[in-house]
């Protein structure tokens, strides 16, 4: 998400899958879209039938490659070298969309004089590197002058300190010959892709890029996405029909679980989690995260409304809206950190919900062995998955590394309801919220995850109230109001209403239930007046505590009219307006101001989407722009909020309103993408003396060793991939006979020349995988 978020402003796909049908070229890389997203692939096939060229770049010839017009075999992990070379090709040969680049991107912004590029010494480090702390000080990466809001610009792109010139120099050595050396792609093939992409971009044409976890799960995944973003900005393909970057998410609702995060370091709506020490007070937090211009200048409204949703009437201006109750970040608590805490016995218990870390997570052996160190372990799933039975049936028990009688972990296995047995919303890959109604009651004691969390919260809050311990104050302050049905299931539409946001109660209810647009009459579980009417969008949020909102970017999904828009099923146009709700504000293609010329008229009749028409922005999609801001508007460099942005600045979440070819803030590993080898690459970096991404935390320890680049013991790259027939860890597919009979066993595909019997056992530095059978399933080569 930081890849798209820092490039354009929002951490979500810029387009909708249906819109792929309008593309003139689709580049799929880091994804086997036909296998992992077969339903979305219909739009790729529609584009192909209309004459678009489909390009698939992948080490493996997959079902996607079979349907593509061009398959480019690439060495795993060399994507930045390939995409960077495309960037260089476009810049060197003046093939970029000049008017778009000059007006809509930060190509013209002037950088500070002390900015240093990895090219300077070809060592792979940007300026500001601190060897002891192993991180960058990002001061020198800023624009010249103060802040990001009103940058100095050179619209001729000639200034030697401007972003465009820096970008040109940064990628100067990413030549087709270098691509052949690093990626194994011949110059002829490279030029074929470059020509196809360039021919399919411009005022009358657009090209789209699709990627999935083949990029994001790299140690430099963010920067691969950044390179694609630079490419699309240079070609003028963002915010336009048939263009954009489609982030194909790895699981159902994975977009939803970053929007309303299951991550430890962000809060709903991409608000940063407060950091301990630096952000001890609300004012410190707001000062640190409120820029002068752009949509984020309203951070106080978004954040205080979130606190009001959490703590309800307990959050007041006097107690800083309960800011002190919110946990603060003191350390890294990402996946590997807490795994090690678990392995070291520092973590007592764990809830495992909707995940199968004994199968799907890296180093599954360490995962299972760490589970044995827990005191208690709660698993919720539809079937008894591997984590639920690690203590009696696992490879470690078989090998004698764990003994059932010695494991002290108390394992609680809760039967969970399937997706057809509960209601709620999914947010799919294109930011689209779709409501799902319950089709059948779950069998036996199976309950939804919402029921579990709700009932757990009720019990914890009850205990906290009884104990009166000061440490439990945050629990007692929670506004846990959700109405229930007769089975104790919380009403999910009540949760959605809270996510949408409402006006907080002004007085005790007099005519309960009569206020238009108030869900369930604004009444909580006990029948007390709880809130006023729901709001219509995040524009209505206030920083004085008069509104509450669970996730500002979703606001509008369940507004004053009382219609659950996620549950609407009448699509009115090809973009699907009227079917579900696409955040933000039902915009299907975001940054769509860029679909019009700087003057406001569409780039071409064929590619028109949003345009300026007699004093208003209008068009096929909901304009992602201030509705009445004229295209020639120019700020006086002191305005705040959206008024501080120009009338031709489509990327309204950025302070300067521009698409970022160069990221002056928000990334830890460099403002521009640089090719590093993957952590366990069999070869050294051909471009820089530094092999791997310098800021990566290797998480090395005895049970989790890595083979550094060039290790002669591990000369081959083994990658995993998704099959259409199975889903994620397999909890939902391996136990279904009709899916399982289609792919009943694990197998490995190897190049015919490597098909030797010893390949039956595949060791890495952490463990080994054995297969019942080995051999090429299909005869395509893996590089």
């Amino acid at each position: 998400m930081p890849g798209l978020g820092t490039s354009f402003g929002r951490g979500g796909a810029t387009t909708a899958q249906q819109d792929l049908a309008n593309a003139d070229c689709i580049l799929i890389e880091g994804s086997s879209m036909a296998e992992a997203h077969p339903v979305g692939f219909r739009w790729v096939m529609k584009a192909k039938e209309r004459g678009a060229t489909i390009i698939h770049v992948d080490p493996r010839f997959s079902r996607t490659s079979a349907l593509a017009d061009i398959w480019i075999p690439i060495r795993a992990g060399s994507d930045i070298a390939f995409l960077g070379a495309l960037v260089r090709h476009i810049i060197e040969n003046e093939l970029f969309f000049r008017e778009y680049v000059v007006h809509y991107t930060n190509a013209s912004c002037i950088l500070r004089d002390d900015y240093g590029d990895p090219e300077d010494r070809a060592d792979g480090y940007f300026s500001g590197w601190n060897e002891d702390a192993r991180n960058y000080s990002m001061q020198s990466w800023q624009y010249k002058g103060e802040g990001l809001s009103f940058p100095e610009r050179d619209l001729t792109l000639q200034d030697s300190q401007c972003v465009f010139q820096k970008l040109k120099r940064h990628f100067a050595r990413y030549t087709p010959e270098m691509v052949e050396k690093v990626c194994g792609i011949s110059p002829a093939l490279f030029y074929k892709v470059a020509d196809t992409l360039v021919k399919a971009s411009g005022p009358d044409k657009t090209a789209a890029i699709c990627y999935a976890v083949g990029w994001t799960q790299h140690s430099k995944g963010v920067q691969i996405i950044r390179t694609a973003s630079i490419l699309q900005l240079l070609l003028g393909n963002i915010g336009r029909p048939g263009g954009g970057i489609l982030a194909l998410r790895g699981h159902a609702s994975i977009q939803g679980s970053t929007d309303i995060p299951t991550l430890y370091d962000i809060l709903p709506g991409y608000l940063p989690m407060p950091r301990g020490g630096e952000e001890e007070t609300l004012q410190q937090y707001l000062d640190a995260h409120t820029p002068k211009t752009g949509l984020w200048s309203n951070t106080p409204s978004y954040f205080i409304s979130l606190l009001k949703a959490y703590y309800g009437k307990h959050a007041t201006a006097e107690n800083n809206f309960g800011y002190n109750w919110l946990p603060k970040l003191t350390a890294d608590h990402s996946f590997f950190e807490y795994l090690y805490d678990m392995a070291d016995g520092k973590m007592e218990g764990m809830f495992l919900i909707g995940q199968n870390s004994a199968v799907g997570a890296p180093n599954s052996r360490l995962q299972r062995k760490s589970m044995a160190k827990l005191k208690w372990f709660v698993i919720r799933d539809m079937v008894e998955t591997e984590p639920a039975r690690f203590w009696r049936d696992s490879a470690e028990i078989e090998r004698g590394e764990l003994k059932t009688e010695e494991i002290e972990t108390e394992v609680f296995f809760f039967p969970a309801a399937g997706h057809a047995e509960k209601e709620g919303a999914f947010t799919n890959t294109q930011r689209l919220l779709q409501w799902r109604e319950k089709a059948v009651d779950p069998p036996g004691d199976c309950r939804s995850d919402a029921w579990f969390i709700h009932q757990l919260a009720l019990r914890l809050i009850g205990k906290a109230r009884a104990a009166r311990d000061p440490i439990d104050e945050p629990l007692r302050a929670l506004d846990w109001w959700y109405p229930e049905d007769r089975f104790g299931e919380p009403k999910m539409e009540a949760v959605l209403a809270e996510i949408n946001g409402w006006k907080t109660p002004v007085a005790a209810a007099t005519d309960r239930g009569s206020i238009e647009g108030v869900l369930f009459g604004g009444v909580d579980r006990e029948g007390n007046h709880h809130h006023e009417a729901q709001i219509d969008g995040y524009e209505e949020l206030k920083n004085d505590g008069s509104t509450a909102c669970g996730c500002w970017i979703y606001s509008g999904v369940f507004s004053r009219d009382g219609v659950n828009k996620a549950n609407s099923r009448k699509s009115r146009d090809y973009l699907g307006h009227g079917w579900g709700f696409s955040w933000p504000s039902d915009r299907r293609i975001i940054y769509n101001r860029a679909s019009a010329r700087p003057g406001g008229e569409p780039w071409s009749e064929r590619k028109k989407l949003v345009w300026w028409d007699s004093g208003n922005w209008t068009g096929i999609d909901v304009p992602d722009f201030k509705k009445d801001k004229p295209p020639d508007y120019e700020p006086q460099n002191q305005e705040r909020g959206l008024d501080g942005q120009r009338g031709d600045a489509p990327f309204i979440l950025h302070e300067d309103g521009l698409g970022w070819l160069y990221v002056p803030k928000g990334l830890q590993d460099g403002p521009m993408p640089t090719h590093y080898e993957p952590l366990e690459s069999p070869v050294h970096n051909a471009l820089y003396s530094r092999d791997t991404n310098p800021v990566v935390n290797w998480f090395t320890r005895a049970e989790n060793r890595f083979a550094p680049p060039g290790d002669p013991r591990f000369p081959f790259v083994l990658t995993t991939y998704r099959l259409t027939e199975h889903h994620t860890g397999g909890g939902m597919s391996r136990f279904l006979s009709h899916l399982s009979e289609l792919q009943p066993e694990m197998f490995v595909e190897v190049s015919p020349e490597l098909d030797e019997p010893e390949w039956q056992n595949h060791p890495s530095s952490r463990g080994s995988v054995s297969f019942w059978r080995s051999g090429p399933v299909t005869r395509q080569c893996c590089q």
């Binding site: 909708a16 074929k192 099923r569 699509s571 099959l723 006979s737 399982s740």
Partner: protein, 360 residues
């Protein structure tokens, strides 16, 4: 649902068998092969479990139509999603299946098995490309073929292969195609069935009434495509003959067959046979212009099957897909078979009589 299967051999059923044998003999002599069961016959969906029969799909259809619910982004343009009255209007329907947009996802196989409650038939890793299903059979009514061939697919560039100015690697292509019962105009299975279990429906499809089938297996050897088969033990309903029903139960309620409904790329298209044939020839022309020189239709209308209701667009020769280039209904051999039998018996009679005369 599991019903025990009983092979019935009562006098009541053997009488029609004899009658049909005589009828077949007469037809064989005349070399005319009309469908033995007239069209527009009402076929009860008694093969369905009770709860399915109870469901009124028409009500569901009406409700959804009233709400104006459509597919996202597509309105009602897609023929695969449209509701219809083909059964009520006696319109001939068909499947048009093509490999150029098929992504080999096997959703058709799964949807078919789910809807029709076809049991799984073994967890065997065959490793023949991505195919672990094998072939069409009593428990596989849709089967996705995975073909690996040493030639180019259209103008596809795979690695260096296909680039005009580069050293060519070995050509290679990977093709997926969903195979199904062809629902022949002159159906071998239907003509061979001695019990009348196999009938022709209003929409032109061939339907096996499993409560009438006695499991004789004549249809199995009579199918020119090797589609229909008897279900082996220990699967439910073992012994009876099964094949694609064209989702006749769904069609009666105005729904398209399950496989076409779920096909994400509309590689399987369901619709009026005449529409589909027009669409198919247009598609072949379009493909030929865009470089698929070996694109052709597989729709044998010149042979004795006289056309099929599930026809295919194929790249290359039909043999590679396991499709016979000239499928024939076995009953065309009836005339010569019965004639030679007659001649043989006359010769035998003469020989016997001659023997009596000679030795008498």
């Amino acid at each position: 649902m599991s019903r025990s299967w009983k092979v019935r051999r009562s006098p009541a059923t053997s009488f029609p068998v004899v009658c049909r044998a005589v009828l077949l003999f007469l037809i064989g002599l005349s070399n005319r092969r009309p469908n033995l069961v007239c069209r527009r016959i009402y076929t009860p969906n008694s093969h369905l479990p009770a709860h399915r029969m109870a469901e009124d799909f028409r009500a569901v259809t009406a409700r959804r139509a009233k709400c104006g619910e459509t597919m996202i982004g597509e309105g009602t343009q897609s023929t695969n999603q449209r509701r219809h009255n083909y059964v009520q209007e006696n319109v001939e329907v068909g499947f048009f299946t093509g490999p150029t947009v098929c992504i080999g996802c096997k959703a058709c196989e799964v949807a078919c098995k789910e809807w029709n409650e076809v049991p799984d038939d073994g967890f065997t890793w065959i490793g023949n490309s991505y195919d672990n299903t094998g072939r069409l059979g009593a428990s596989t009514w849709r089967h996705v073929l995975f073909l690996e061939q040493d030639c180019q697919k259209g103008n596809q560039i795979t690695g260096l292969m296909g680039l005009s100015d580069a050293q060519s690697e070995d050509p290679f292509r990977w093709i997926f195609l969903s195979d199904v019962c062809k629902h022949c105009e002159e159906a071998g299975c239907l003509e061979a069935c001695p019990t009348g279990s196999i009938v022709r429906t209003e929409v032109g499809s061939v339907f096996v009434q499993n409560d009438v089938c006695n499991g004789c297996g004549y249809c199995v050897v009579s199918c020119p495509f090797g589609v229909i088969d008897r279900r082996p033990q220990p699967l439910p309903d073992a012994g009876g003959a099964f094949k694609c029903t064209f989702c006749y139960d769904r069609q009666k309620s105005g729904l398209v067959p399950a496989c076409a409904k779920v096909c994400p790329t509309e590689s399987i298209v369901f619709g009026r046979l005449d529409d589909l044939r027009a669409r198919a020839s247009q598609r072949v022309e379009q493909l030929k212009q865009s470089g698929y020189e070996d694109a052709q239709l597989y729709d044998p209308q010149e042979t004795s099957v006289r056309g099929i209701h599930a026809f295919f667009l194929i790249l290359g020769e039909p043999e590679a897909y396991g499709l016979p280039p000239k499928p024939q209904v076995p009953t065309i051999y009836l005339k010569s078979a019965w004639t030679s039998a007659l001649l043989t018996s006359i010769a035998a009679l003469i020989a016997v009589l001659g023997a009596f005369l000679f030795f008498g």
